[in-house]
Symmetry: C2
Subunit: 185 residues, 2 copies
């Protein structure tokens, strides 16, 4: 989680930025970069990382559809609350289901969906947590992209092709859309 004390502070509305994509697509890396940029601007930012949230709010939940949905609703509950208090909330979690992402969009007053897109082969090559390897060996099930579905966003506000863009390029795209959204209030 983030420190919430930037050196300067500007007035801005709250906002939920939802990074969705396969494991190892680069969601957390991108969220980190965007968070750094926003803090430099003096914004109040909080990162809700799927893995960290699971430890703090969803111990005992698994990875079948029902449990994933429950986990995502918990993240959405916290994100909505923070964003109501004028925090820019950066959520990074696979969130494979279109319906639940739409539900989160409906709940959060101001919402940006970022599709962190990289081909499965690239993600599998990166395999930061070793889950693809384990899935291929049959040691792990419910792995998104392997034996569990991923439903790509149909009309995300931003798509970042992390296999073709640098982190800085992707972060700049996201930042632009965030600032645009904040200006439009």
């Amino acid at each position: 989680m983030d420190e919430a004390e930037p050196s300067t502070r500007i007035e801005h509305a709250g906002l939920t930025v939802w990074f969705t994509g396969l494991s190892s697509a680069g969601k957390t890396t991108l969220s980190d970069a965007v968070s750094g940029n926003l803090k430099k601007l003096g914004c109040r930012v909080e990162q809700l990382d799927g893995d960290i949230i699971r430890r703090h709010l969803s111990l005992g939940l698994g990875y079948d559809r029902k449990d994933r949905e429950e986990n995502l609703r918990r993240i959405g509950f916290v994100a909505e609350m923070l964003s109501r208090h004028r925090v820019i909330v950066l959520v990074s979690t696979i969130s494979p289901y279109r319906a639940i992402r739409a539900e989160m969009r409906g709940k959060c007053k101001s919402f940006i969906e970022v599709y962190v897109d990289a081909p499965l082969e690239v993600c599998e090559e990166r395999d930061r947590k070793g889950i693809y390897k384990r899935a291929r060996k049959g040691e792990l099930s419910h792995v998104t992209g392997i034996d569990d579905p991923y439903e790509p966003p149909l009309s995300p506000e931003v798509t970042c092709r992390t296999d073709r863009e640098t982190v800085e390029e992707s972060a700049a795209l996201v930042l632009e859309v965030i600032l645009e959204k904040l200006r439009s209030k």
Copy 2:
């Protein structure tokens, strides 16, 4: 949960105010009154009510010690996060264990413990949720004060005797301590 848009807004630090006490001791009633007073002052306030949080963050958890502790840690996690973003967080939940309340105090940078104190007989008479009646009939177990322990705070910042004070009197006591704490920053 609260609306986060008071008509005026003042600058203040974040703070977690933790209301602990038996079921029907008056925690939520008191939290509502304090929340109203703080909003009139233009503060950013969020109420985390134990029952509501259970629905949103802790479906599937029960009432044995382990599950209660996990539930309280989740509330603490959210409270800490909100208070880092300068929200005054009012937590109302039985939170029967001294150790876990101490843990929450340790986690939150700024913390006030409010002991919402009313004798068990009074709480049982009120029995807003009907749980004491069900416990006495043997239909419900793990009811704090009946077959589950409640460990009263040893040195809470505020004690409210809700059987002797009006809600307004109790709320005024809590408000005074909150404002004192905010001034001391």
